[in-house]
């Protein structure tokens, strides 16, 4: 017990010499602690529950309209696998095409390098205003959130204005995004009204009508759109064949950022490529239906370098690694890079619905975050090592994923990696707590539990429930009732599984 919270042994893995990513992809606290804080917030749980159930039914409806949905998913999966297997070639092809069209490419190994590149570009192209600071407008981008770009720019004297309504709500509320598609999903209309009234001096009296709130955002940002010289965006797709970039959005703030400024800086992960322009025929069906539950989102823009007389004439792209190559090196986990960030998996996840996105401590919440964050950083990062347990392995995420990422399988794989890396032979506080609690778990009948993840398993009716556990695990049980547990711990079962499976694995 002397080594509470510390792994006794760190094992070295194949490929782990590739550097992990940095930035907002590491949990500050392990998932159990973080989730406890959020589980106690009833308003947050109500807001998220309402939003996810709405979007689940919208998605189900538009997906059922397509009788070839499963074939589209197959095509999406195969296309992304093809990209990963030929990534150097597709990147080089993309680079050549984008450059030929007048765009300028920068490569960034990690968050620091990407932030430095963007800062320099902004300093070269955005004027210093009367305030002594520079300004840029931004359209929602996971990649820039991942690298902590806004915070970095702020320290360098550059104010970055988020222009998505949800991002604006988050930014004005001094808050963090909790969902990749609807970052303010944890805020209801009354809270949004309050934030706006408080932070938009010119807004006047507002009601909590969504239309009124949207109008306030329009007025608030209009002048910025029409006058700001530099915009920063992410990209949903990069087309290797043609050097084309695409942004899928709703409000028109994306179009504003991509069209009106003189300089456009896009930050995109190296995994976002598609081989051919024609592949969009699959992805423009998969993405909108999976994400917002629409047949098509209101606006999608594609640009290839610069166009004479139309849009920004100074067009840059930062290609970002930041741990992606490390994730790629894990052959059992690499399909996590196929993710097109639709957010369908979090909308169906029973764990996400109860804890909200903040508990995952990363830019990438929900089931995809539970695998992607540790893959980007490496599970040796012990806080992220707890993420693969943030699941009940119910499989709903896999069923909805438009590119068929087998999230449950990768979760189990990463749990194995975590056990090897962080818990050999005995280790963290959580393990100790569970070991201490194991006497309570001796009367088990149901096998829904998996070590750290067990208290988040679905509520089981009937049978004996455990209502209290000591230590960290206790924090979990105050919000969930745990089903009675089986005689063997997950650890024991896993060890047996490993021993049994070793022959089989050797044959692969």
């Amino acid at each position: 017990m002397t080594f509470l919270g510390m792994p006794l042994l760190r094992s070295k893995h194949a490929h782990s010499d590739l550097p992990g990513g940095q930035g907002n992809i590491v949990e500050a606290e392990a998932f159990p602690e973080a989730s406890q804080q959020h589980l106690s917030n009833q308003q947050l749980r109500n807001n998220i529950g309402h939003a996810t159930s709405t979007i689940r039914s919208k998605r189900a409806e538009v997906v059922s309209e397509l009788d070839d949905w499963e074939r589209l998913r197959d095509a999406g999966e195969a296309t992304k696998n093809e990209v990963m297997e030929n990534l150097p070639e597709y990147l080089a092809q993309f680079e050549a095409a984008f450059t030929a069209a007048g765009g300028i490419i920068h490569w960034a190994r990690d968050a620091d390098e990407a932030n430095a590149i963007v800062t320099e570009l902004v300093e070269d192209n955005a004027p210093v205003l009367e305030s002594g600071r520079r300004e840029v407008i931004k359209v929602k981008s996971m990649a820039t959130q991942e690298i902590g770009l806004n915070e970095h720019l702020e320290a360098e004297g550059i104010d970055a204005f988020e222009t998505d309504l949800a991002e604006l709500i988050v930014q004005l509320g001094d808050d963090k995004p909790s969902h990749i598609l609807v970052p303010a999903i944890h805020r209801n209309r009354d809270e949004i009204r309050e934030i706006f009234m408080d932070k938009m001096p010119d807004a006047g009296q507002l009601t909590n009508e969504p239309a009124v709130l949207a109008e306030a955002a329009r007025k608030h940002l209009r002048h910025k759109f029409l006058t700001t010289k530099v915009a920063i965006s992410g990209a949903n797709f990069g087309i290797a064949e043609t050097g084309t970039l695409g942004v899928v959005e709703s409000e028109g703030n994306g179009r504003m950022c991509l069209t009106l400024p003189e300089t456009l800086i896009t930050v995109m992960g190296i995994e976002k490529l598609l081989p051919r322009f024609a592949d969009l025929e699959v992805f423009l069906q998969l993405l909108p239906r999976s994400s917002t539950g629409e047949r098509m989102n209101p606006y999608t823009s594609f640009w290839t370098g610069k166009f004479e007389g139309d849009g920004p004439q100074n067009v840059h792209l930062v290609l970002l690694d930041n741990g992606r190559t490390r994730a790629l090196a894990d052959e059992h986990g690499r399909t996590a890079l196929n993710c097109i960030r639709c957010s369908a998996c979090m909308n169906v996840c029973p764990v996400y619905e109860r804890t909200g996105g903040h508990a995952y401590g990363s830019t990438y919440p929900g089931p995809i975050g539970a695998i992607l964050s540790p893959l980007l950083t490496g599970v040796e990062d012990e806080a992220n090592g707890s993420l693969p347990y943030a699941s009940s392995l119910c499989g709903a995420c896999y069923d909805v994923c438009p590119v068929k990422i087998n999230i449950p399988e990768i979760l189990v794989h990463l749990r194995g990696e975590d056990v090897k890396a962080n818990h050999s032979p005995v280790s963290s506080q959580l393990d100790a707590a569970l070991t201490g609690a194991s006497w309570m778990m001796s009367d088990g009948k149901r096998m829904t539990a998996a070590e750290k993840g067990l208290p988040l398993a679905h509520k089981v009716t009937g049978g004996e429930q455990i209502n209290d556990l000591p230590g960290i695990a206790g924090a979990w049980t105050s919000s969930r009732d745990i089903p009675a547990l089986p005689e063997k711990s997950f650890r024991q079962l896993w060890a047996e599984e490993e021993a049994d499976g070793s022959d089989e694995k050797g044959q692969r």
């Binding site: 979007i55 190994r109 940002l221 179009r255």
Partner: protein, 241 residues
């Protein structure tokens, strides 16, 4: 600095993929194509003929490439989907001038791209500003226009999507963005049924804007609210021609 980063990232990818040779780009088997092997060196990649440029799409898993709607059914489907996403739909045949005049009658000034048939605006008594190369309207001028009237490249019925391609009739991207009212003409011959048919008609090297209904957001409790930063009114005229 960035050159080194490029080499290093490419080398990392090769290592991650288990290719031998460190910074050299040893080609792997291209999984879904047999037509061409991946280039041996990333620097040798031919931009016009990449690893699989000869294939239409990666994996033809048997999804639909064409829809079943034709003729009036196709037009009806498009109208249904446009209306569902809160666009106003009108029909005209031959000359849409009268419909256009009705729709923009309240504005004192509108902008059009240089290639738009000028007779279409004949019934409008206000100012018509023509945006053309060398004579582009400034952002502030665009902001002062009551509406923009354009044609379009393709319309996809199944999703209610209209595509603008930056041509002389679709216009520069800014002109369909800044004014608050967009009147868009869709010729019946430009309507396709499903997304793959639409993509097949487009040129990737053009600035493309896909529009499905007016600007909207679902960011407040996930209810779709029309009207944020893009044009808040979208009038579509389906033109039999």
């Amino acid at each position: 600095m960035t050159d080194t980063a490029r080499e290093e990232i490419l080398a990392r990818i090769n290592e991650a993929l288990g290719r031998r040779g460190g910074g050299e780009y040893v080609s792997s088997t291209v999984r879904t194509t047999s037509a061409s092997a991946a280039p041996a060196n990333a620097d040798d990649v031919d931009t016009t003929d990449g690893p699989a440029a000869t294939e239409a799409t990666a994996a033809d898993s048997g999804y639909h490439h064409e829809g079943a709607h034709t003729g009036e059914d196709l037009v009806d489907l498009l109208i249904d989907r446009l209306v569902d996403y809160k666009a106003n739909v009108h029909r005209a045949s031959g000359d849409p001038g009268e419909t256009i005049a009705e729709l923009i009658g309240d504005h004192s000034s509108v902008v059009v791209p240089r290639g738009l048939d000028e007779t279409w605006l004949a019934g409008f008594s206000g100012d018509v500003r023509v945006d053309s190369p060398g004579e582009e309207l400034s952002v502030d001028e665009l902001d002062a226009q009551g509406a923009v009237v354009t044609a379009s490249a393709v319309a996809i019925a199944q999703t209610g999507t209209i595509v603008l391609d930056g041509s002389s009739t679709s216009g520069r991207r800014a002109i369909t963005l800044v004014p608050d009212h967009h009147v868009c003409i869709v010729r019946t011959g430009d309507i396709v049924d499903i997304v793959p048919e639409g993509i097949a008609r487009l040129d990737a090297h053009a600035p493309l804007t896909f529009i499905s209904g007016p600007s909207a957001t679902s960011d407040i409790e996930l209810s779709r609210v029309e009207g944020v930063h893009g044009p808040r009114t979208l009038d579509v005229i389906i033109l039999e021609a």
